[in-house]
Symmetry: C2
């Protein structure tokens, strides 16, 4: 120990954020929002479920499940896409991991939070155990996503820039809030649950490209579920765990804009701003893929015609997805170069286009090497400027302001269903997939979750 | 999303810390250290075990156990001081919580890390399930503590000053390392375990005074155990999860002195610097309690003689323990004022002196109100300057350079045993306590852990 100056910047006058969010979660009436919000909540749930079923036999899930089996868990709750059952906390973990394994889940573009994973994974497992209704789950989903995303709004971008994977480092709060709602906790208990969860932020951006990236929303789901259970039984935490000078938000972000939490709470809804990925990779690559798909179609481009692809994009594209020579599918999801190559070759970038054997195919690598990325701070991170020079000497140009899947160009329900079927049918079969889609999109009408869970699992 | 500057300071040239620590954990030969280190490891284990048994019927443990029981856990591992058994991950959690509940556990003074909780709680639960030997546990304890404390040395004090409870936010690495050793993982698997754990730092200083403070070492123990199990089954993480620009250490500390990890690794041992608390409260209060106990004895002071107590101490004493009017026992552990009052009244500050009824006793409050704290940056945080003015007009002065329990004035084995008995005997009875102490202090000689575990639990 050495004597030192212990003064660290701190805002001791922050509003009572933890208490305010707890009150909101407990007192907000069921379905007290517009039809548009309600519809978006169902789209969010259905998209999440499809994304959790798709990778359910992936080695990431096999490894996590094998570790959990060593604990000899009680068979309390479903693992989506599979026949095994585990205790509800580990079901939340597994389904959360699965939903993010293909990097295909939803995105709250204001913060790059993938909000469903931590929240939906926790409440489905808890709701199954408790015998909750679909209405309870949709309410909890809307409220939990609101908590995660508002905290995200208050600390983004500083928190993210520092290196936190904001999905996991705010998701445990959304999960704690949503589970508290499903459990019917009091406002004080919910405040305690948020506090217990606040001590357990999950996730580093350094993990991108490894199995630990999808671990983050799963771990956040589990943290929130356990925090709510502990609060139910009287476990205590700081009442100001989020906002105090040594509370979570000031500890892990230099930016803390409290108004992002206090203003219009219960009146505007962040889930309404949720978006769904048409491409199975990091969201900042989507404009570039969209541009390549469009140029390919407009000019009927063949791979052998492409001489050079020049991308101008925001610095974040380089920072997050600048892997020039990814060696496998997981790494390729963070390579704008690989993504543009498959977009030009196949006109799409679904999970198949990130298979290991596609990533190492000579034809893909040859095209990938022709892609150049120029960092341009004047271009918004939702946009891209792409020029393709052909071997015949032509130059084709496109500027994409907002990619397909964004708020400005949302996926239709039909497109979302096609994505759901693409992921679910190989695992659960066509008939069960059709049924599952319908039940997800009408979750709030279901008295019990049994039928839904049967449709999302194997016998 | 808004365009922005995403440049954050980062050291891209950090040495391969994660790999280096993994190699160290896997290749360091058993008991390749001095007798002094070996003895300290046993003292650390025994002190931890006593501290875990003491609070085993406390409401903190009752609440956490009730939440865990909702998962219907398998009866894999012991909860110390109790008859219940839970799965090994939750046993690690519960024993880790328990060991820190009275704030009476060990302290690595260079970092204020309480190193045993996260490590010992995890390896005892894992070792029970695997049928490990005492030798394996002592080896893993030494190595795990080394990992936590070296990472702590590299980032302390910046990391702590920012608001992290460093015990939990480095402890998950020590637990992952130690559990990897007990499981016999490869170097690469151990590297992955450290990586998985790196995404899950636990603990905010804001929680001090609530049940979530002792939750931190417990949660860290569980995180590390699960990370090792996942790595065993092939789960992956970044190979540079600790040191990369977006890795744990750079994300959560502005100070990253890599030499604290690389220099003399496997040659010097941080566990040799471990200390044990004679008083059941925050370590920075200990010099003040020691001073009051000494002045009381030297001058045969009666409470009614005390007119005023003036403490001069380092700013950290104010920051961490400046609660003037604590309302219960948990808060009183962070009140230098209450602590000095009981030291003057009773000549001690064990767990009994932090009971709620003591904290609210009029006699204690009257004395507490006579204590004044003056912040003095020239005084080291391990020291204190105390003057007591009496109603007769005398002034008694003492300067305590190092408190009892520090490296300079360590507790003897006899004093450690007395502390163990004080905590264990009311729970397990005198005979079983005597046996447990002996088995803890000779852990490395035991082929199996059965007898030890029987001695530390109830039928």
């Amino acid at each position: 120990m050495t004597a030192r100056n212990t003064t660290v910047k701190a805002d001791a006058n922050a509003p009572a954020i933890t208490e305010m969010l707890a009150q909101f979660v407990v007192t907000q009436p069921s379905r007290s929002w517009s039809d548009a919000v309600e519809a978006q909540a169902h789209r969010t749930f259905a998209n999440w479920a499809g994304c959790a079923v798709g990778p359910s036999t992936h080695e990431t899930i096999e490894a996590a499940l094998a570790a959990i089996q060593e604990l000899e868990p009680a068979k309390q709750a479903a693992v989506l896409g599979r026949s095994e059952r585990v205790d509800m906390a580990n079901a939340a973990l597994l389904n959360g991991i699965s939903s993010h394994t293909f990097d295909f889940d939803d995105t709250h573009l204001k913060t790059i939070i993938h909000p469903a994973g931590p929240v939906a994974s926790a409440i489905l497992a808890l709701g199954e155990h408790l015998g909750s209704s679909g209405r309870q789950l949709i309410d909890a989903l809307v409220l939990g996503v609101e908590v995660s995303c508002r905290v995200g709004n208050a600390i983004y971008p500083d928190h993210y820039d520092r290196g936190w994977h904001i999905t996991g480092s705010t998701g445990m709060l959304g999960s704690a809030a949503a589970c508290s709602r499903v459990l019917g906790l009091s406002a004080l208990q919910t405040q305690m649950a948020l506090g217990i969860a606040a001590s357990q932020p999950v996730g580093l951006r350094e993990q991108f490209g490894s199995m630990t990236k999808p671990f983050h929303p799963g771990a956040a789901a589990k943290v929130g579920l356990m925090a709510a259970l502990m609060a139910k039984h009287g476990y205590t935490a700081s009442r100001r765990a989020l906002e105090a000078p040594r509370g979570l938000m000031q500890v892990f972000s230099d930016k803390t804009d409290w108004r992002e939490i206090t203003q219009n709470l219960g009146k505007t809804w962040e889930i309404e701003l949720n978006t769904y990925k048409p491409f199975a990779c990091g969201i900042v690559i989507h404009p570039a893929i969209d541009a390549c798909v469009q140029l390919r179609a407009q000019h009927n481009l063949k791979p052998e015609q492409v001489a050079k692809v020049t991308l101008k994009a925001h610095p974040l594209v380089q920072e997050l997805t600048g892997k020039k020579t990814p060696s496998d599918g997981l790494l390729a999801k963070f390579s704008v170069f690989h993504s543009c190559a498959v977009a030009l070759l196949y006109g799409r970038a679904g999970e198949h286009e990130y298979a290991d054997k596609v990533v190492t195919a000579p034809q893909v690598i040859a095209l990938r090497d022709k892609v150049e990325l120029i960092v341009d701070r004047s271009i918004h991170e939702a946009s891209v400027d792409v020029t393709i020079e052909t071997t015949e000497g032509h130059a084709h140009h496109i500027f994409v302001k907002s990619a397909i899947g964004s708020i400005e160009r949302p996926m239709s329900n039909a497109q979302l269903k096609a994505k759901f079927v693409d992921q679910s049918a190989p695992i659960l079969g066509a008939a069960q997939t059709e049924k599952a889609w319908g039940l997800c999109m009408h979750l709030s009408e279901q008295e019990k979750l049994d039928e839904l869970l049967q449709s999302l699992t194997r016998r």
